[in-house]
C-alpha cells in the first residue's frame, strides 16, 4: 500500500462520504465556540427549528469581547455584553458546556482546549476562529471555519471540505540562546510570505521541532495560518503523551495508556509524498521582529528593512503603503527604535511557559519609563499558575500591568486598544493595520524580544541578556 501521511490518516478516517467533483463530508470530533462567531449560527438553527445534534462535542468560552479588568462587574459596553449574554443563553438552551466569563476554567479558546484535555491526538477539531490551527500541535487536523460552517457543525457534526494539498516543513538543528519557537515560525513566514502556504495543510517535522515543548509547538501551529496554510500539525510523541499524562483530567478517556498506544500510530510513514517540501536550519534563525502590516514582513531584530518586497523588482505600492503606515523607510534599522507599548498575551504566547520566559529577562529589573506594558494571561489557569510561581509579583515589581484573561489587545475588540500612531511590541500573531486599535503600529515578536524591548524602552536584541 502507498505510504500515508499523518494528515491523510486522520482525514481519511473522518470522511463520512465524498461528493464527486466536490468536497468531502468531514466528521468533526471537537467543536469549540466563542461569543463573536457563534450567535448568527444559533440564529440559523432557530430559524430552521432544529436542535444541536451532538451538544457534548461542543465546548464554549467567552474570550474575544470581554474586558480584562473588573471581570466580576457587568460588562460596560452594551454590544459586548449582549454578545456574551447571547452565548450564555444559547449554551443553556442547547445543552452546551460553557466556560464563560468568571468561570474558573475560562480563557482564550485555544489556550483552554488543550489545558483542559479536550484536544487529543488524531481528532478533527474546528472553531469559528482562524487560530484553531493551534491544536494541530497534538497531531490533530484543526482549522478555522466561518459562521455558516459553525452552524453546519452544530446541526450535523459535519462540514463540507475540499481536501487541501499537503506540505511538509522540516526544521533541523539547535536553536541559539534567546531564540524561541515564535522566532522559528516568524522566520518561516518571512521566508515564504503571508500567502506562501495558501491551499496547503502543513506538517512540521525535524529535530528542532521534536525538541520543543507542547506549548512551544502550539505557538508554531498557531501561526501556520499566518502563511496562508489551512492549518499545521505535528505528529504526537513522548512530549505530547507526557503533557497529556500530567493533565488533571481528560474527559472521555478511561485508559490513558491504551489511548497512547493508539496515538503512537499517528505518524507519517516513510516514503509518503507531499505536494511540497521545505527544509530550514534552526541555526540560521535569530530573534525576529516584523516591520510591516502582514506577518510575512518580518526580519532578524538586528537586520535592516528590505528595500523592496521582491528581490528584482521595484517596491510595490502595497509594500510602500505598509511601511508608510508603520512610519518606517526601506533600508532603516529597527534596533534602538523607541516604542510605546508592550503586549504579552494571546493564543500565540499567553501560556505559562511564555510568561516564564518573559520573567527570565524581567526579574529584578524595571520596565522603561516610556513604555506601557500589559500582561494578559491566556486563561484563568495560567493566571493562577503565574501567581503561584511568583511571576505575577515579578511583573508587578517591574511596573507591568497584570490583567485578567482574554484576547485583549490581540484584536482590541474590548477597551485594550493601542492608540493611533503608537508603536507596540506584541507577542500576538497579527500586525495588520488597525489590528490593535485604529492607527496602532504593531511589531510582532517573541516574549523574550518583547521583554528586552520593555526593559530598554526600544527595540533590543534579547540575546544581549543571555551573555554572561
Amino acid at each position: 500500500m502507498k505510504a500515508k501521511t499523518l494528515f491523510d490518516k486522520i482525514w481519511d478516517g473522518h470522511v463520512v462520504r465524498s461528493i464527486k467533483d466536490g468536497p468531502d463530508v468531514l466528521y468533526i470530533d471537537r467543536h469549540y465556540i466563542h461569543e463573536v462567531t457563534s450567535p448568527q449560527a444559533f440564529n440559523g438553527l432557530k430559524e430552521r427549528g432544529i436542535p444541536v445534534y451532538r451538544p457534548e462535542k461542543t465546548i464554549a468560552t467567552a474570550d474575544h469581547n470581554i474586558p480584562t479588568k473588573d471581570q466580576h462587574l457587568q460588562i460596560r459596553d452594551e454590544l459586548s455584553r449582549n454578545q456574551v449574554e447571547r452565548l450564555n443563553e444559547n449554551c443553556i438552551k442547547y445543552g452546551i458546556e460553557l466556560f464563560g466569563l468568571n468561570h474558573e476554567k475560562n480563557g482564550i479558546v485555544h489556550v483552554i482546549g488543550p489545558e483542559l484535555g479536550y484536544t487529543l491526538p488524531g481528532m478533527t477539531i474546528v472553531c469559528g476562529d482562524s487560530h484553531t490551527s493551534t491544536h494541530g500541535a497534538f497531531g490533530t487536523i484543526a482549522f478555522g471555519i466561518g459562521t455558516s460552517e459553525v452552524e453546519m457543525v452544530l446541526a450535523t457534526q459535519c462540514i463540507l471540505q475540499p481536501k487541501p494539498k499537503k506540505m511538509r516543513i522540516t526544521v533541523n538543528g539547535n536553536l541559539h540562546k534567546g531564540v524561541s519557537s515564535k522566532d522559528i515560525i516568524m522566520y518561516i513566514i518571512s521566508e515564504i510570505s503571508a500567502g506562501g502556504a495558501t491551499g496547503y495543510f502543513v506538517e512540521f517535522s525535524g529535530s528542532a521541532i521534536r525538541s520543543l515543548s507542547m506549548e512551544a509547538r502550539m505557538t508554531i501551529c498557531n501561526m501556520s495560518i499566518e502563511m496562508g496554510a489551512r492549518g499545521g500539525l505535528i505528529a504526537p510523541d513522548e512530549t505530547t503523551f507526557n503533557y497529556l499524562r500530567l493533565l488533571p483530567a481528560i474527559p472521555g478517556i478511561k485508559d490513558m495508556e491504551s489511548a497512547i498506544n493508539q496515538w503512537k500510530t499517528l505518524t507519517t510513514e516513510p516514503g509518503a509524498i507531499f505536494d511540497r517540501e521545505l527544509v530550514f536550519d534552526a541555526e540560521q534563525i535569530k530573534p525576529m521582529i516584523t516591520y510591516g502590516t502582514n506577518p510575512g514582513m518580518g526580519m532578524s531584530v538586528d537586520d535592516t528593512i528590505p528595500i523592496t518586497d521582491d528581490k528584482n523588482k521595484e517596491a510595490s505600492s502595497s509594500y510602500l503603503k505598509s511601511l508608510d503606515y508603520m512610519g518606517f523607510k526601506p533600508g532603516e534599522k529597527l534596533l534602538g527604535h523607541s516604542i510605546d507599548y508592550v503586549f504579552i498575551g494571546s493564543c500565540t504566547n499567553g501560556r505559562i511557559e511564555d510568561f516564564r520566559a518573559f520573567a527570565q529577562i524581567i526579574k529584578g529589573r524595571k520596565k522603561a519609563a516610556n513604555v506601557t506594558a500589559l500582561i494578559v494571561p491566556g486563561s484563568k489557569r495560567v493566571e493562577e499558575q503565574m501567581a503561584a510561581e511568583g511571576l505575577t509579583e515579578i511583573f508587578k515589581n517591574a511596573d507591568f500591568e497584570v490583567r485578567q484573561p482574554g484576547c485583549s489587545s490581540c484584536l482590541a475588540m474590548n477597551e485594550d486598544k493601542i492608540p493611533a500612531g503608537k508603536y507596540a511590541v506584541s507577542t500576538s500573531n497579527r500586525n495588520f493595520e488597525g489590528r490593535q486599535g485604529p492607527g496602532a503600529r504593531t511589531m510582532l515578536a517573541s516574549p523574550l524580544t518583547a521583554a528586552a524591548a520593555a526593559i530598554k524602552g526600544k527595540i533590543s536584541d534579547p540575546r544581549e541578556f543571555f551573555t554572561e
Binding site: R17, P23, G128, D129, T198
Partner: protein, 200 residues
Amino acid sequence: MAKEKFDILRSTCVPLPLENVDTDQIIPARFLSATTREGFGENLFRDWRYSKTGELNRDFVLNNPKFSGKVLVAEKNFGSGSSREHAVWAIYDYGFRAVVSSFFADIFMANSLNNGLLPIVVKEEFLKKLLGLIQKDPSTEINIDLDKQTFTIVSTGDSVKFAINSYKKECMLKGLDDIDFLLSIKSQITAYETNKSLAK
C-alpha cells in the same frame, strides 16, 4: 436556507489595486459585536473609507463616484487573516456579488461560497490588465457566466475560464445551502458514528 441564485452577472467593477487585503481591513474587529448578519456593509473597509476623525476619505475608491458595480477587483492574497464571516457579509451587504483576485485565503474562499459571493481566481497578468482597463475607463464592463465558468471583459472580448468545484457551482446556481444537504444525509452521519464507536 435558500440563498439568492447566481447565474449571469454583467457589471462594471470597483478596482482595489492592493495585495494582502486582510479581513481586519474589510471589517475591523470593533464592528463584530452584532449578533445578526445584517448591516455590516456600512462598515466595509471602515478605516480606509473614513479618516480617524470620521470624515469621508475622498481618495479611497469606494468614495470615488467614478467607480461602481457589483464586482470588486483586488490583488493577490485577498481575504487573509481571520475566519470572520462578517467580512463576506460586509462585502455582500455593500452590494458586491463577485470578487476577483489572483488568489484568495482559503477560509475567505469557503465563506464566500457559503454566502452567494462568487470568488473568481484569475492569472496575475490578466488581473493586472483588468485593473489597468478599469482604472483607465471606469465604464469597463465584465460578464460572468457561472454555468460556463467564464469571465469576460465585454469591450475587448478577453475571456478566461475560472475554476469552481461542481458541487459548489450547483449550490450557487440553485441558491442551495450546505446545511440542507448535510441534514439530508443525516442517516449516513449516524451510521458513520456507529461504525466508529464499534471500531473502538
